[in-house]
Symmetry: C2
Amino acid sequence: MTAASQKSTLIDNIGLLVTPGAERTGAAVVIEDGVIAWIGDSRSSVGSAPAADERIDAAGRCVIPGFVDTHSHLMFAGDRAGEFEARMAGQSYSAGGIRSTVTATRAASDSELLTNATRLVAEMRAQGTTTVEIKSGYGLTIGDESRALRLASTLTRETTYLGAHVVPVEFAGDVSGYVDLVTGAMLDACAPHARWIDVFCEDGAFDVDQARAILSAGIARGLGARMHSGQLGESGGVKLAVELGAAAVDHCTFLSDSDVDALASGNTVATLLPGVEFSTRQPYPDARRLLDSGVTVAIATDCNPGSSYTSSMPFCIAVAVRDMGMTPAEALHAATAGAAAALRRDDIGAIEPGKRADLVILDAPTYVHLAYRPGVPLVHRVLSSR
Amino acid sequence: MTAASQKSTLIDNIGLLVTPGAERTGAAVVIEDGVIAWIGDSRSSVGSAPAADERIDAAGRCVIPGFVDTHSHLMFAGDRAGEFEARMAGQSYSAGGIRSTVTATRAASDSELLTNATRLVAEMRAQGTTTVEIKSGYGLTIGDESRALRLASTLTRETTYLGAHVVPVEFAGDVSGYVDLVTGAMLDACAPHARWIDVFCEDGAFDVDQARAILSAGIARGLGARMHSGQLGESGGVKLAVELGAAAVDHCTFLSDSDVDALASGNTVATLLPGVEFSTRQPYPDARRLLDSGVTVAIATDCNPGSSYTSSMPFCIAVAVRDMGMTPAEALHAATAGAAAALRRDDIGAIEPGKRADLVILDAPTYVHLAYRPGVPLVHRVLSSR
């Protein structure tokens, strides 16, 4: 990780530079005070780049935008390796396993939670992720949810209140009572630490009416809306997300034609989570169908100890290309610019003047290697404006 | 990479130690002169470990044998990222693409070939591989094949002569003439640099009679036999491999019941190559069927620029668990002890006194994380006897 702020840096001799709408060869980039200031030809070719305090020789490598991981659940304790093994031996995935992480998370100290999340953020950055969204959702009490968000906000500005992750056991017979809590006192305690509100709208979690109440309450408090839906089956969640102007609806494995139409006509990004299907053996979502319909698509890890414990955006890109019908260029776009749209951010996700200088130098001549060389750590260096 | 030879090292405080037939908690290992000398309880628990020159605190991490990658094609030049992109867009894989790498490899200098292979071996070691087999097969002339093996032998003792990778274009109308070359003057030039001889026995490459002639010629020269077969369809290759006492037959995607019976009754390891099916969208081999029949199974990367450009054994383990019906323990065994059997080596692939001290300390409490956390670089430290 290189802190690029407060000085100028020339990245020279870039073999392939991915910029919006184009791929340049023999390029150079100048960063000033953590912002991309100039893009042009490599100094070694024409000598036109401005002077800079520091010069990084990319030596012909490919330079891409830092990955934007818009969906993670890093505020947890414990792991569920045993549940994973049982699933691989034939047990099916259900959202109920979330509750075992809730028990472990409630029992953990602030320090344990923050240490674990910090480790995972570092792991992500080493694999090229320069922006990460972090959700609560394993506390499910006023104190535990607000604590998770307070701690998460020390790691990222993209914090999401997910009190409506699953109904906790103590509300098993009183879902509406839990919705009242999530939209009332828990929201009051969490809103100061969150940018977003999210809900898991799926059989076994929250239905469409409950999801509408939850997101509407958050929106009324100034939070942006996001949603989990379409993971295990079709529901009305996707249309609700579009109707409410949610920034993104995540999973999108099971979509009706009218869901796709709604996404195409609205302003909500469809975020696909390849690690989930890989680690639960669920069917993969059809990215091709979405892209061909004009939907903006993002890719994220969904890093969490239950359904997808990968922190690797390169791995997710490889799976998206193999199993979701995306080209390598589309998958890279989804992991950067598409993901920035899913966070309603215009300062990240692309290499162009004025954007934050969040860049990854790959140990490869082209980003195609992210899919062509699955599982191989290809991140040579990460430059981040933070 | 730590050179562990010529001194003693205590690895203490091991959270989970994988030894043949058992998994120990709270363990310690002592290495002397590059060999495992002692296994017992962690010094922090009972203080029984012998004294050592150096102490490594594993801090509760899992320690596994170094991976043994028995199938790689590292002696090549160029890459085939464009072919990969075309395949992902719908073109099917065929062995013919090998010829484009042959052209690039013949044109490369010794230094270019060795630099590329050295880079890939280093990449493998960073991901926990401590033994790697390297094949020729992109030269297909006397000079180019013997050069590849001479260079490969500077990187590993597990070198494999694969003049019979594919029929080169200059012999397109004269396959038997090429077999004569492979079993004659080319063998003479290559045998001094090789431990093994291999043949691609498949439609589009070499048939069973040709494969028999090729392997028999190698065996007569003192080389061990290996085979590629069953990648694209059933052939008689698998039974031939068993009949000739080959150490391994690799791919094994398409197997008849009698092929499985032959493997179970013989001394030939079935080596599965998950990266190939991942990167070509071919059906995955059924490891469960093989294991349940009593066949010894290995996993390898098949690292090559065409069908599988991964160098990551952890990635291959994750895919084997997800898509081939192996448990995490079976996949780890296949990547270590099973793979050692596929090289007929009794000095590697397991952590027990007398074996070479090739060990990997994982950044995880259990090896299950290799499958549970796909794509995540989990190798904390590699100790190698070399």
